[in-house]
Amino acid sequence: MQGFQESTMAVSSENNAARLSDALGASGLLDILRQMMLIRRFEERCAQSYQQAKIGGFCHLYIGQEGVAVGSIAGLRGDDPIITAYRDHGHALARGMHPNYAMAELFGKVTGCSKGKGGSMHFFDKTRHMYGGHAIVGGQCPLGVGLAFAIQYKGEDKVCACYLGDGALNQGAFHESMNMAAIWNLPIIFVVENNGYSMGTHIARGTSMADDLSVKAAAYGMKFARCDGMDVLATYDCFKALADGIRAGKHGPAFVDCQTYRYKGHSM
């Protein structure tokens, strides 16, 4: 994809410049690696357990996209609220949910993060400021705006990260949310996890201007960034800068095209 190359080039041409991720240090970098590996191993176990019929319903694996959740969440503060779609295991683990707590949910146990009521698509963790996995495409966008509204209302300095798939770009809820965030200057980052597909549909078949999503942000006068979601440090740099920028009042809400890929099928 064209944009993918652009961002890779942008990073390599800045090789000598200082990057925000330089400050992570060895232990910060190790944490990030550990989290990505945890997600990968966790998802592999999910696949196994699903095949053994210990997990039921729909189960969307995050394999391939680890860099997006880990890099972006590392760039946020621990108390910044996050909200996402149904492909939510990675975000929960990146937020520090214990894998037992996550796996227990998938096994339908009362000890799971949603007490076995939600399942794979509906992870919630209030103590880690994770406001849920949401299974109706685009349905989390207005909720994210609501979280940002409440942050602004209370005069806090938090920033909400609202994740969505590229398929959700075609829902009215997304566009209404973008407009509201823009007119009220809400502290929110819309994060498109652009893996190129919604189920069997390539983004170019379902989304206008698929090769330049910056226009979606431009339509609402919103700050735009594109990042290589396969590069966890580039993702960190992008989100750290945006979250700090919003917190400092340097700019308003933002829209990020994180280019990534899922290595597995749409769902188990």
């Binding site: 039921g56 319903g57 729909f58 949910e105 339908g108 146990k109 949603s114 076995g116 009521k117 939600g118 399942g119 698509m121 509906h122 949401h134 299974a135 109706i136 495409v137 685009g138 349905g139 398929g167 959700a168 075609n170 829902q171 009215g172 809820a173 919604s198 189920m199 069997g200 549909t201 078949r205 379902g206 989304t207």
Partner: protein, 328 residues
């Protein structure tokens, strides 16, 4: 008679009607190149091309509304919701526009459209994906609603739905897509009129009315109860709007007992409506109160055991029949 799957029956109905009437087309997510998320539209893109089998972005409001507009302009759309759970995004279009256009325009704009897709829980999908929408929408004037429980009904009712001049809400069961049953031959032009119940089993002790997937539970429950000497009459109304209340009332006049099974939530449910209509018409023929078997009054849980327990099931139906007929 040949046996085919429920999903194949739906596919045949759409293909036959599309051959018969050039105005009919199919639109929805993944219906064309992917051959349907549940393979209901298998082969239809190859057969009819992308003009008539249209892949939509994940934009329920837009493609449901597009269908309504196209119907006002003279086409006869079939709009597939991958699941009826996702139609809620398009609620304004499907319940505010489609069913009211004819009346509101003083009869100028009929909306001959079929909205169809999976309805009902049972696959551990959690509450957002486990809607049974029949009770939520059946109260809207101007629409028709069919809930087929067998492959033959799926085919016959869908063909009728596509020929209808009113909007039809066609509620299929994901759990039944692979279910096989006898269906008349392809060239039989098999249609089933709306408002005509099917008496699945005759019996003289208690009437059980059930719709959709629970019809199968009711038939199994009747087999269990027969071993105890309780012979049930099982009635599948097949369409909710219109509702064949006459067949139900005639049965109640014979058995004097009624259990209504309904995969929606109890408050203001289809079961509540059927019970009320029977009270209005046959109160004096009842030897006990009417008992309803609904979902429990909670959102659908993910946990398998809890989910099976919150839905209507064979055990609950047996218990209801025993409880209502104890004074026989």
């Amino acid at each position: 008679m040949r046996e085919i799957q429920y999903r194949e029956a739906l596919n045949e109905a759409m293909c036959e009607e599309m051959q018969r009437d050039e105005r009919v087309f199919l639109i929805g997510e993944e219906v064309a190149e992917y051959n349907g998320a549940y393979k209901v539209s298998q082969g239809m893109l190859d057969q009819f091309g992308s003009r008539r089998v249209v892949d939509s972005p994940i934009s329920e409001t837009a493609f449901a509304g597009l269908g309504i507009g196209a119907a006002m302009y003279g086409l006869r759309p079939i709009v597939e919701f991958m699941s009826w759970s996702f139609c809620l995004v398009a609620a304004d279009q499907i319940i505010n526009n489609a069913p009211k256009m004819l009346y509101m325009s003083g009869g100028q704009f009929p909306v001959p459209i079929v909205f169809r897709g999976n309805n009902g829980a049972g696959g551990q999908l959690g509450s957002t994906h486990s809607w049974s929408v029949e009770s939520m929408f059946a109260s809207v004037p101007g629409l028709k609603m069919a809930i087929p429980s067998t492959p033959a009904d799926a085919k016959g009712l869908l063909k009728t739905a596509i020929r209808e001049d009113d909007p039809v809400f066609f509620l299929e069961s994901e759990r039944l897509l692979g279910f096989r049953g006898p269906v008349p031959p392809v060239d039989a032009d098999h249609t089933i009129p709306f408002g005509q119940a099917d008496v699945k089993l005759s019996g003289s002790h208690c009437t059980i009315v059930a719709l959709g997937r629970p019809v199968h539970f009711a038939v199994q429950a009747a087999a269990e109860l027969a071993k105890e000497g309780i012979f049930c009459e099982v009635i599948d109304p097949r369409t909710v709007r219109p509702l064949d209340i006459d067949t139900i009332v005639a049965s109640v006049k014979k058995t004097n007992y009624l259990v209504v099974v309904d995969q929606t939530w109890p408050f203001a449910s289809i079961a509540a409506e059927i019970a009320m209509q029977v009270y209005e018409r046959a109160m004096d023929d009842l030897d006990n109160k009417i008992v309803r078997v609904n979902n429990d009054d909670v959102p659908a849980p993910y946990n398998r055991t809890l989910e099976q327990e919150m839905l209507p099931n064979v055990r609950k139906i047996c218990e209801a029949v025993r409880a209502v007929t104890y004074n026989a």
